[in-house]
Symmetry: C2
Subunit: 248 residues, 2 copies
C-alpha cells in the first residue's frame, strides 16, 4: 500500500509520499516513491507513485529513457516537455507503453494493472500545476476549489485535508496538515510507513525549497504526532456531551 498527497496552494506546492511497499504482510520493504526531475532555474517536476511497484518503476524508467516521437524520432522526456500539460500527457503515454508490454502477462497471472501518479511542478514562464494520472493514462488537474490530490490509501487522511487545506494556507502549514494526514493514514494502515519523502516548491523558484526525508523517530514529526493526538483529545473533550434525553 501507499499514501501520497499533493497540495497546491497560492504559496506553492507540497508533495509527499511514504516509502513502504509490501507483497503480503510478510514481505515489507522501503522504496522511494517520490521522484524529482529538475533543471534549477528552468523547471522542477515531481512524480509520486502508487500501485504495483514493478509497473510504476517501469513507467519512471520509460520516462527517463524518453518516448520516441513517431514523426520526428525525437526522445520525449519530462525534461524537454514544452508544458506541464504535455509532460502529464507523456506520463500517460508511458503508462500505456508499459501496459502494452506487460498488461497481458500480468492479466494471465491475475495481477491487476493498477497504478496512479501525482505529477506536480513548474516550467519557467508558466504557472505551477498539479495533476493526478490514472491507470488508463488519463488525468485530472488540481484546482483552487479543492487544492489537493491524493493517491493510494487516501481515505483515512482525507478528513483533515478537507477541513484544513484551502488555497490560501501558508506553504509550511500545508506541509504540516499533510503530515497530519500522513500520520492518520499510518496509524490505520500498516501498509503505509516511514520514512516519508517530502518536497516543497515555491512559485517561480524553479528549484526545491525543501527536498527532505523524514526518518522514523525524527523529533519534529514525533512531536507533531503526539501534539495532534493530544489536540484531538482536547478537541472532543471541549465539545459538550449530547443532551439527548431518555427517549424510551
Amino acid at each position: 500500500m501507499t499514501y501520497c498527497c499533493g497540495i497546491l496552494v497560492r504559496d506553492g506546492l507540497v508533495m509527499m509520499a511514504d516509502t513502504r511497499t509490501n507483497a503480503g504482510l510478510d514481505n515489507i520493504s522501503t522504496f522511494r516513491k517520490l521522484h524529482i526531475f529538475k533543471d534549477p532555474g528552468e523547471r522542477i517536476m515531481a512524480i509520486a507513485t502508487a500501485g504495483n511497484l514493478a509497473i510504476t518503476q517501469s513507467v519512471i524508467s520509460t520516462l527517463n529513457e524518453g518516448l520516441e516521437d513517431p514523426e520526428t524520432g525525437e526522445r520525449e522526456t519530462l525534461m524537454n516537455a514544452p508544458t506541464m500539460f504535455q509532460a502529464a500527457q507523456r506520463i500517460g503515454r508511458a503508462i500505456r507503453e508499459v501496459h502494452k508490454l506487460e498488461g497481458n502477462a500480468l492479466r494471465a497471472e491475475d495481477i491487476s494493472f493498477d497504478v496512479s501518479f501525482l505529477f506536480g511542478g513548474q516550467i519557467k514562464g508558466a504557472r505551477m500545476r498539479l495533476f493526478m494520472i490514472y491507470t488508463a493514462g488519463n488525468f485530472i488537474e488540481c484546482t483552487t476549489d479543492t487544492p489537493y490530490l491524493q493517491i493510494g490509501e487516501h481515505k483515512y487522511g482525507k478528513p483533515v485535508l478537507d477541513r484544513a487545506i484551502s488555497y490560501d494556507v501558508d506553504l509550511y502549514d500545508a506541509l504540516k496538515v499533510g503530515l497530519v494526514s500522513m500520520d492518520s493514514t499510518m496509524r490505520s494502515n500498516l501498509g503505509v510507513g516511514m520514512p516519508i519523502d517530502i518536497l516543497l516548491v515555491r512559485p517561480d523558484a524553479l528549484d526545491a525549497e525543501l527536498d527532505y526525508r523524514i526518518e522514523a523517530g525524527e523529533p519534529y514529526f514525533h512531536d507533531l504526532r503526539s501534539r495532534w493526538s493530544a489536540a484531538l483529545r482536547a478537541a472532543h473533550q471541549s465539545i459538550p456531551r449530547p443532551p439527548y434525553g431518555n427517549v424510551k
Copy 2:
C-alpha cells in the same frame, strides 16, 4: 453506502447508523438500518446493517419470522435465543438462508452478495456483548483492547475512534466521539447521510437509555459539527510549523 459504528465500553453500548441508501447517485433514499429487539427487563439487542438493502432486510425479516430448528421444529428468533453468542449464530444462519435462496439469481445479475452486520446487546444475567457478522455468517466479537466495531464506509471515521475511544470513556463521551466519526464520514462520502439513528444501553438496564433519531439540522449535532471543525483548525494551528531547512 452506509456507515454504522458500535462502541462497547465499561459504561455501556453505543450503536449508530446512518439512513442513506442509494442505487446510483441519482437514486437516493432514507431507510432505517438500526433495528432494535427488546423485552424490557429481560433483553435488549440491536442490529445495524450494511450492504445490499434487499439482502439485509430479508435477513431481518427471516430473523423476525424465526429459523426452524430441524430437530425440535421450534422457531428460533433473537427474542428466544438463550445467549448473545447463539443469537449472533442465528443471524449468521439467517444470512446463509437468504444466500441459499437469492445467491444464484443475484450472481446471474452480477450483483455481489455482500452484507455485514453489527449486533450488540445484553440478555438478563449475562454480560453485554457486541459482534460484527460477515457475509459468510461468521463473526468476531469486540474486546476491551479495541472497544469498537464499524461496518460500511469505515475508513474516514476510524482515526478519531482510534485516538479517542478506550474502554474507560464515559458512555455519552463515546456517543459524542461516535458522532464525530459519523460526521467525518458524511463529509467525505455522499453515500452516508442524515438522519442518524442512535441507541445507548447501560449495562444491566435491559432497556434503551436512549433510542433517538438525529434529524438534519438538529441543533446539538449541528453545533458538534461546527465545534469539531473549529477545534481541528485550532488543533493544527497549535502545532509548530515544520522546522526543516532548505536542503537543496
